[in-house]
């Protein structure tokens, strides 16, 4: 029941086990767990870490319920989870849930060298909300609802990073063709265009100066190039 269930997420993530009611429970924080907890508590589980770092009695029970339900969908209900919690095991439960959350998070982004230090911190995107994450899962990664919900955040972002890497590869190939055409045209630029100028998903080190290289207007979709 509790220990036998193992999905791909179970196998790919560090093992965090909690013994409750004499049974070992494997804790994996997936999108489904976060969503169920958000539904029960009203706390934004994607945009805030409050429920893990400073939980209330209610949010701890809701989190534990969602985590245990992954392993035993039939036999688990909210008040039964409350019955499993005792003064002696509260600290252990809290620590195990926090650990399960930490191991489910994607690795902190390695600091990549940037072309211009002045731009640092200006273009940091806000964290993805539920709709953006769902859209990325469906459109970019072509995941079904269940496939996405059964993933940990670590797994999802690893897939997304691989997807962007793949996009970058195809953009570079297209960029080589466009750069060759431009450099050998009748109105060839004095400074030759580089293939990386036409890559939209650039590595920070390849980012052109503001206003230079290929640009895309986010509203109209118009593309232009400035050498």
């Amino acid at each position: 029941m509790s220990s036998s269930s193992s999905s791909l997420s179970d196998l790919l993530i560090e093992r965090v086990t909690l013994t409750l009611g004499g049974l070992p429970w494997r804790l994996v924080v997936t999108y489904r767990v976060l969503l169920e907890c958000q539904d029960a508590t009203g706390i934004d589980m994607l945009g805030s870490v409050e429920a893990f770092v400073n939980p209330t009695a209610t949010s701890l029970r809701a989190l534990l319920y969602a985590l245990l339900k992954r392993c035993d969908e039939e036999g688990m209900y909210l008040r039964r989870v409350g019955e499993l919690l005792k003064p002696e095991n509260l600290a252990e439960v809290e620590a195990a849930i926090l650990r399960a959350y930490v191991v489910s998070l994607p690795d902190a982004k390695k600091k990549q060298p940037t072309a211009k230090n002045k731009d640092e911190g200006k273009n940091v995107p806000p964290p993805m909300g539920w709709m953006e994450t769902r859209a990325a899962a469906h459109v970019e990664l072509r995941l079904s609802g269940d496939e996405w919900l059964d993933m940990s955040m670590r797994e999802f972002h690893a897939l997304r990073e691989a997807h962007v890497e793949q996009l970058r590869h195809w953009e570079l190939i297209a960029g080589q063709i466009v750069a060759a055409i431009k450099n050998h045209s009748m109105n060839a630029p004095k400074k030759w265009a580089q293939a990386s100028d036409f890559v939209f998903h650039r590595l920070p080190v390849d980012a052109p100066e503001r206003g230079k290289g290929a640009q895309i207007d986010s509203k109209t979709g118009a593309i232009w190039f400035e050498a």
Binding site: N54, L60, K86, P87
Partner: protein
């Protein structure tokens, strides 16, 4: 259907701590009693969080630093299993009447040690691990003490030696 059956199973029997209080000091709408039972039921604590709007898990972890509201919420939650009719205001009235007894009972049910209990426990641990160190420590502190041979474990040679040294 089966799930519903499971949900209807009899409530588990929970250990409780009983405390007495002078009913004359309680200002309550219902008839005050002279003894109350406290029980740890996590579900009642969650329900009390909804009633009070306060983080009672934080209060459980930091019993010495709780606000009056959190302590009242905890007492209310711990009373609720044995006294389902209790009101939040009545929990407050109990605390107002005899806070020492009530807080002491809360500590017992949550298994939080008082300062004296923690000191005694650490002394007992030192005595078990290194009796001579305990004897030296008490001597240094200038505390008069006596070790009776009948209290020393027969098998613990170190303890008997320490007792002999002390005498």
């Amino acid at each position: 259907m089966e799930k519903n059956k499971k949900q209807q199973k009899p409530k588990q029997v929970l250990p409780f701590v009983e405390f007495s209080i002078d009913p004359s000091g309680i200002d309550s709408a219902s008839d005050p009693q002279d003894s109350y039972r406290l029980t740890f039921d996590y579900n009642e604590i969650c329900d009390a969080e909804v009633v009070t709007g306060l983080n009672l898990l934080w209060a459980l972890r930091n019993l010495d630093a709780t606000s009056a509201g959190q302590m009242r919420g905890l007492v209310y939650a711990l009373l609720k299993s044995a006294h389902p009719e209790v009101l939040l205001s009545e929990a407050g009235a109990l605390l107002a009447a005899d806070s020492a007894s009530v807080i002491n009972a809360v500590r017992k049910v949550l298994k939080v040690k008082t300062a004296d209990e923690a000191v005694l426990e650490s002394l007992a641990r030192i005595a078990a691990e290194n009796p001579q160190a305990l004897v030296d420590m008490l001597r240094e502190a200038g505390i008069d003490f006596e070790i009776r041979a009948d209290e020393a474990p027969a098998s613990d040679a170190a303890f008997s030696d320490a007792a002999a040294t002390a005498q």
